[in-house]
Symmetry: D2
Subunit: 243 residues, 4 copies
Amino acid sequence: MPTKSIAVIAGVGAGTGGCIARKFAQKYSVALLARNPTSYQTLVQEIHSNGGNAIGINTDVTSDASVKNAFSEIEKAFPGAPLAAAIYNVGGGFVRKPFLELSQEDFRAGFESNAKGAFNFSQAALPLLLKSVDLEHPPTLIFTGATASMKGSALCASFATGKFALRALSQSLAREFGPKGVHVSHAIIDGIIDIERTRGFQFDAPDAKLSPHSIADSYWFLHTQPRTTFTHELDLRPYVEKW
Amino acid sequence: MPTKSIAVIAGVGAGTGGCIARKFAQKYSVALLARNPTSYQTLVQEIHSNGGNAIGINTDVTSDASVKNAFSEIEKAFPGAPLAAAIYNVGGGFVRKPFLELSQEDFRAGFESNAKGAFNFSQAALPLLLKSVDLEHPPTLIFTGATASMKGSALCASFATGKFALRALSQSLAREFGPKGVHVSHAIIDGIIDIERTRGFQFDAPDAKLSPHSIADSYWFLHTQPRTTFTHELDLRPYVEKW
Amino acid sequence: MPTKSIAVIAGVGAGTGGCIARKFAQKYSVALLARNPTSYQTLVQEIHSNGGNAIGINTDVTSDASVKNAFSEIEKAFPGAPLAAAIYNVGGGFVRKPFLELSQEDFRAGFESNAKGAFNFSQAALPLLLKSVDLEHPPTLIFTGATASMKGSALCASFATGKFALRALSQSLAREFGPKGVHVSHAIIDGIIDIERTRGFQFDAPDAKLSPHSIADSYWFLHTQPRTTFTHELDLRPYVEKW
Amino acid sequence: MPTKSIAVIAGVGAGTGGCIARKFAQKYSVALLARNPTSYQTLVQEIHSNGGNAIGINTDVTSDASVKNAFSEIEKAFPGAPLAAAIYNVGGGFVRKPFLELSQEDFRAGFESNAKGAFNFSQAALPLLLKSVDLEHPPTLIFTGATASMKGSALCASFATGKFALRALSQSLAREFGPKGVHVSHAIIDGIIDIERTRGFQFDAPDAKLSPHSIADSYWFLHTQPRTTFTHELDLRPYVEKW
């Protein structure tokens, strides 16, 4: 029996990351990276009880050492298994403040969570993804973007700099690693996601929020595209969203 | 038994349109619009022999009357059947010439094939799509774009004006009809498609051309997105493509 | 004494086109193209009384023959004078309607006024501009864009298709004729211009509308850039505008 | 006699920054920020000998404290003088390497030089610019972008993340401070600038490089736009440049 491949998802919790993990766990062993065990413990158990393989690893993606350690743990847990997909879905870095009230830390937060973390994650994942070009689906690296990836709004200087930087990174990686057979994608999530934390956000339409399950389906779709026909960027948006 | 829904595809032939038709024919009755019967006859037979329903209709999409007639024929062939998807995949209008050598007809060709045809097609399809918001998948209108949708290159004034105009139309329709439950999408095909006509185009990599089958899979993916999570625009590009 | 050069402005009247004409008339003979003499008669007199040279020519820019005739008239009025600048500032084509209420003519209007007219104008102007590469300033072709050049809004399918198409044309011409020394620019006017027709539009701020004089200054700035340092595209927007 | 206003330019040396300084010194006292005195000493003398006012201040823009110190020095040198313009023209952070060879420092360099430095500079300049809304020209904050502001190329992950982030910052500031009367602009320099350091870069055309003098003229043009008619973004490109 061939070794089951691995998907690693950075940024799991009650929301989108969790749905992505469940989706990819249907085929792959999954490694779930989050700052706190509370973000992945229940999910790891759920995946196990559904017959899947999952591990959770405490990881601070803004730390090079922490990300390297996470990938060592993955290798220990699933020795010799190829990496099929790596998904960077880290939130955070969202600060909404008048510019002149931003502290140095506030401003840096957008870059650290988004671009710096994605850099650490990509440096660890890409050498493994490059070895997986002969798997059933092209090895895939997906980054989660936002409305702020395309537009720098007032009061959002920190988050927008981080998300713009992440988009630049994803383009640069797609152009360098695409020709080597790695599929690098950037998904622009343009709207409120329907998760625990946003339950209180009310709209006129009852289905005005993005479904995290459908986001996960979209990521799986990206992963299964053959290399003749890669999507680098797509937007995901509720039907009632203004844009 | 509920009535089988319909997908209408404008611009079918040996290439992408044919693959889209086959894909959608797995679930829907399909109506294939093309200028010449030679573009759809074999395909209609093939779909029939695979147990599907298909009709072909001679249509000049640049003619309002011809498009209206096509939709009358569809209603006659599949009376009462709801329209689930409408795909505008018309090529043509590609003229590569120094600007000062373009005739009035050359210049107009890009707009006629792309924007004018898409206007006629959308005006006929949207009233029907609006009635289909309670089907399994949100009713879907997809337009096929190109590299020239995003960039006006030298010698391509005609095609680029047509493709830019088509993109404007698709954005305007998405913003008007999205909130009414219709999924309007625009796919940017950035590369050479691997079809009969491009067989002679040689690249270093053997798989350097877009697979029309994968384009069809992508269109089907767009069609099956729930309305909480619509993609308006995605690019499709071979892994070795420069961009 | 060297022959005074010419600037031709299509789309003059009480607003922006008039201000552009006054600005360019400080250095050049100006030819003013408009559908009706009432759009240019007073302006021609004003420029004469200020010591400038100006002619007005009844022109329907959507007609190839009418534009050709206009350029013949210009040659008759200013024989042998080189063309220094050609500015396409034609409004029109603005139809705001639900998509399903658009007539064939409504939809075509955006393309005709913007792209088709600009095509006719450019085909007549570019052969003359190419002869002017040794003038003091690089020969210049400027197109007036709008918010709708960048975004296809609901109910604006006609205007947006026209303005997107115009932008495609301007990019294609810039890439073909830039290396030949012709400066092709596209100005995105994003806001309400402060002219007679918009006097009734009230905003909180008293200076919330674009100054047509400043637009003219910007066009003059574009014209005077050396070819080492061309601007292809700039936006122009009131300080209080949301974008 | 009214107090002469100030322009502060971060990133001066033999190239563009120096030309911007000379241009703004024709009307304003100028403060020149650079890491090393060798970057500004000759320029300060030249401006003095032409009857202007200039000071140079050793500044590391990536350090909050260093930038605050620079603005204190400016206040000491020109007490009570209003700030008319602040120009962030810092180069650096350009690293061209395969992604997997980038060190943590390499990757961070693009962000530090471009976004972090621009953050420090903007936090120091904006409180002063806000006090200058009644000067002859709207107070102006200009950022120097690059090709990499719009496109993340292979091997350019560090520089592109920094330049994308800078663009995000400039958009966010324009949307927050524009309505308060401050003109925030972003200039995309798309090509090689004709300076000492690029003397060896040969092209077919003798004038294939951007003129730093013309870049300075463009910045001055931006500064003198009235607030009814602000340009947020323009590109600057040699006529022969491919884009």
